[in-house]
Symmetry: D2
Subunit: 351 residues, 4 copies
């Protein structure tokens, strides 16, 4: 059994992974670490876990928290995992980090990301940059299998990159013309309380936010540029809408030459023919976030506005699954040499 | 592998069972029958099932629909399964029925139920009454294992009966004093369209309904009376509130003698000590429907209003799981000689 | 024009009153005081008020905050208004308090309330007790008109008292048999952040809370006992369900003698014949919280469970209107000698 | 008093107008006509209207339905009002139509609209085309005052046109570059039942729809082209999200020359300086649909993505108010020679 330790276990990312791993045939959670609720069992805080995971929350300094593991998951904010990763790796484990710390593979790229978002531009473990992998299995499967440290993607970024990579690789669109109009459920903001996520303030409300720039833009531009072989720049708008789980990203690009919807669908299906968690549909399919809710799937709906020669992809994921814990388990499987789909083949439940 | 055929496969009960069985190690769905959508694959109608169940919907008269099965599930309205059950049994299968048809074990009890709800009081297969079992495993485990036909409980009934049976058996309350104040999510009404379940009419609304009498009352009174050894009569109020899944039943009874909350908790825990899907809590526990959502658990919160010597139990279930498909799988397991919990040991997902 | 000053203006109670008063023909807000957001205009915090109320938030010590007013509203927690009321009254104004401070008319009753809820039992302005009125106009119209200080009712209390007073006055039920099963939308908890009201934690969840005792019980028992002429004791259960506005209280009492629904409806209609904001219905009416949402109405649905001779009233209000700001304006009208309905005759909007 | 007759009174548009007009000082509803529920009082169907509007629903052929009125509102589907308008006008009344019938001012424009949406391209009252006005007061105030027949705008169209007209008039963007990414609450689909609007199917779901083309595109392109003085073509995407009321349209255009956000804000404020229902904000403002809910306001948030020189406007309205009944009353006021804002100056209620 692969042993998994989670640092920052009590956030949505941590419990998402616990929920998945208690049913996994080859991996199990062995240690939970967090800064709050130390000493309580995780199932006291989240009663639905009772009988499935009753491990105690340990302080990071607790000797028990030093127990060895095969994979150490940092479900922590930026600039936590980057300080601890080298020691974890030296102890023979691999690192999966949920923050922006290991999503970039050069100091320059990290510094650009950090600067734009008001963070210290100096990476604490620069020696690991270049050895790390960007944890989107559909694009970086082999690197994830080999890397000592993997940066799990941002949830919006995941939906946009999966939605546009086939078109970028085929250079279907003008690289300066891309617009990502993204809508997320409220769980995307995590469990931290805020006036804007108080139920009465949110239940019958929707709004755009972070209009000055969202932290996932760098990831999207980097990955699309890699596919395109040329710089891609996007306009990105984040919106929050009153549901819990789900991202719907509507992605637009000015096409460089006319193509029909059917041609684009075929191109997309071919691109993802070895990716079991991506499904491609034409514009007539009745797809919504409920089709991917509580699963690791990304559903892509392709359409072409022929009047103005514009490509439009609608990308649907569950932000806490394919956008977080599901991708994390997919990465853990790859990092541990297990089949990518292990523990993830579930349909979800409707309604 | 146990072969399961579902009649009425496209309702919430049917797809709930499909979602559970595609992950079950010892049982599988082999045939789907319904009146609508004949000829379409179930995964065309419910895209989340794609790759998990792609069986076609068959007409009941279709020769393929006659294929043998070990268990035939009738996820159909009242007075459908009762006509077909004898033939199914004659062919060597067992029957699990989701309607009121096999929830009563005498013609008199059925007639009383049917009359109160404006249905024909004559049961179509009276020979089966008495051989059938009421499908609440926590109370009728042995009978379910043995019976050729099992009536799956009503969702409200399930929550009330589990909530009050230990107290009934111990005669803790005056049998004429019971009040069941039940709140259900909207999925309890099934997928049939109605003005009252149109999203704009429902999203910020709650109301009591069927104040003249709800069809689950008979079941609750019968089961509680059985436990009590004396007639129990209840006042039952159904309310619908704007969530999708979940029943919260607040159950009141005038106590015949003073008892503390701790004493009642102990009595309840003892009653359910061999029932893995019932969890008992004292009044300080922070339990809500989200703790049981998408699982087969029933969570019971015990309290005593000592000022007026009144027992109060709050019973939480997922109406589509413990209240329907989950109990159904629990019954299928028992009917097939498998462990009761097989395919059901999952934590749910939060949030 | 009646001048109204609000202390604690930025909570839901405060803005509810601002929303009502900007349309009132004879009263207007002249001063807003709060502890947070001092110096900002109220419409910066709540942009929907822009152009309707752009007053600044003043600190309580600010000289401008001392400006005279006809009515001073304390939309503050317990034990704030009771200290300041005497000075306000000495300055010639009347006081309307939203907390528990002036809901009781004797030191003993206040001490009982405060003790049960862990508060200091000594009232800070005992001289005002006995001169104050309980601000439920339907029962205390004349006292409210005359009193220098009025205690606005609790939201749950309002729904229960209106629902049971006619039956209490007619002694229809055994005074020890009453159960109040109350369900509230989330706005009832106010704007204070809490993990349990974080959108993802609440959106698909419902639960009972404060099972050990809710602070509104004292009010309900006092008012029902007054009507009955004998002590009435209730079992009270508070539940929170995922909508924003609305209380649905299902109220049960064991009837002392058989009565039909029609007889009870007639008795209720007679009781409320001079109360324009109470509507009485029989059990066949299709009433829900949406019928009273954003209005000052209380809709009462009467039914009798004749099998066990039990009265059942379902009482619907908007917790922020009839349960708070609406009743407040009704009281302000009475205190100012204006027609009770002024500024309140609106239908609400559907859906 | 202006007398208003509503044809199609029981839909959301009809009751929205009833809710507004019962509080209007100079206009009142005198006649209600519909095809369903004939003979019932409107307040039987919508109990919140009890005491505010208790008029009976009349059949169109009923002699009482022929009573004269000053304004006849057709809250009906396409191709109803166009047949009846000439007679209404001949009788001295003015017509306000909620469908697409009078949104176009030439036969060619109507035919283009109708053809694209599978309707008969022949207008039934071609003589009225050219005399009619497009009912967006902010752009066509004088024409609305003068016209015998006004076509109330589509809800999406209203949000997009208000959002982009100032930029179109100033030719800020490339006319082929516009993208309208629109999100609507569920009430936008009206009260007609559909599987996709059944509460359980909708509550935790969002999706794009009508990807092949939405019926509001023609209106948006026509109005923007008028402002621009040159053909504007848009890519339009409609999405439905799980709230009841609200449209949020995120509007993008490639700028023809660099401008700062502040410059664009100034230009927008100037454009709308005489339009009391449009508010303009910079990108730092915390605006959401809740700021306009249940009001006639349109809030516009301006931002510029300077990295790619792209204009982005987020336009917020209540689809049933500014998007329907609110604009309708604004038009009725203008058509009747009353102040545009009469009966509409309300803040809404929060939360």
């Amino acid at each position: 059994m692969i042993k998994v330790k989670i640092i920052g276990a009590t956030g949505y990312g941590g419990i998402g992974l616990i929920e998945l791993l208690h049913q996994h045939p080859e991996a199990k959670i062995t240690t939970l670490v967090a800064r709050e609720d130390v000493g309580r069992r995780i199932s006291e805080i989240y009663p639905h876990l009772e009988g499935f995971c009753d491990l105690p929350i340990l302080d990071a300094e607790d000797p028990q928290a030093q127990a060895s593991a095969d994979i150490v998951v940092f479900s922590t904010p930026d600039r936590v995992g980057m300080y601890q990763a080298p020691e974890v790796i030296a102890n023979g484990a691999k690192v999966l980090d949920f923050s922006g710390d290991f999503r970039f593979t050069t100091q320059e790229a990290y510094a650009d990301y950090a600067t734009r978002h008001g963070k210290d531009p100096i990476h604490a473990s620069p020696d690991l940059l270049g050895k790390n992998a960007y944890g989107l299995a559909e694009l970086h499967r082999a690197e994830i299998q080999a890397a000592p440290v993997v940066g799990n993607p941002g949830c919006f970024a995941c939906s946009c990159i999966l939605g546009l990579s086939p078109a970028a690789k085929a250079k279907l669109f003008d690289p300066m013309s891309v617009i990502c109009d993204c809508k997320t459920g409220v769980s995307g903001a995590g469990k931290k309380l805020a006036a804007t996520f108080h139920y009465p303030a949110r239940y019958e409300n929707m709004n755009a936010y972070k209009l000055a720039g969202h932290q996932h833009v760098c990831e999207v531009e980097r990955e699309l540029s890699l596919q395109y072989g040329q710089e891609v720049r996007i306009t990105f708008t984040a919106h929050v809408v009153p549901l819990c789980r789900g991202i719907m990203s509507t992605l637009y690009g000015q096409m460089t030459q006319p193509m029909t919807e059917d041609e684009v669908v075929a191109l997309y299906k071919d691109f993802y023919k070895d990716s079991p968690f991506v499904r491609v549909y034409g514009s007539k399919a009745a797809i919504g976030t409920h089709c991917v809710s509580r699963t690791n799937y990304c559903n892509l709906v392709v359409s072409v506005d022929e009047r103005v020669n514009r490509l439009r992809i609608v990308s649907y994921i569950d932000n806490l699954m394919k956008g977080q814990a599901g991708s994390a388990l997919q990465n853990i499987n790859l990092m541990a040499g297990l089949p990518e789909t292990m523990g993830l083949m579930r349909s979800g439940m409707y309604p």
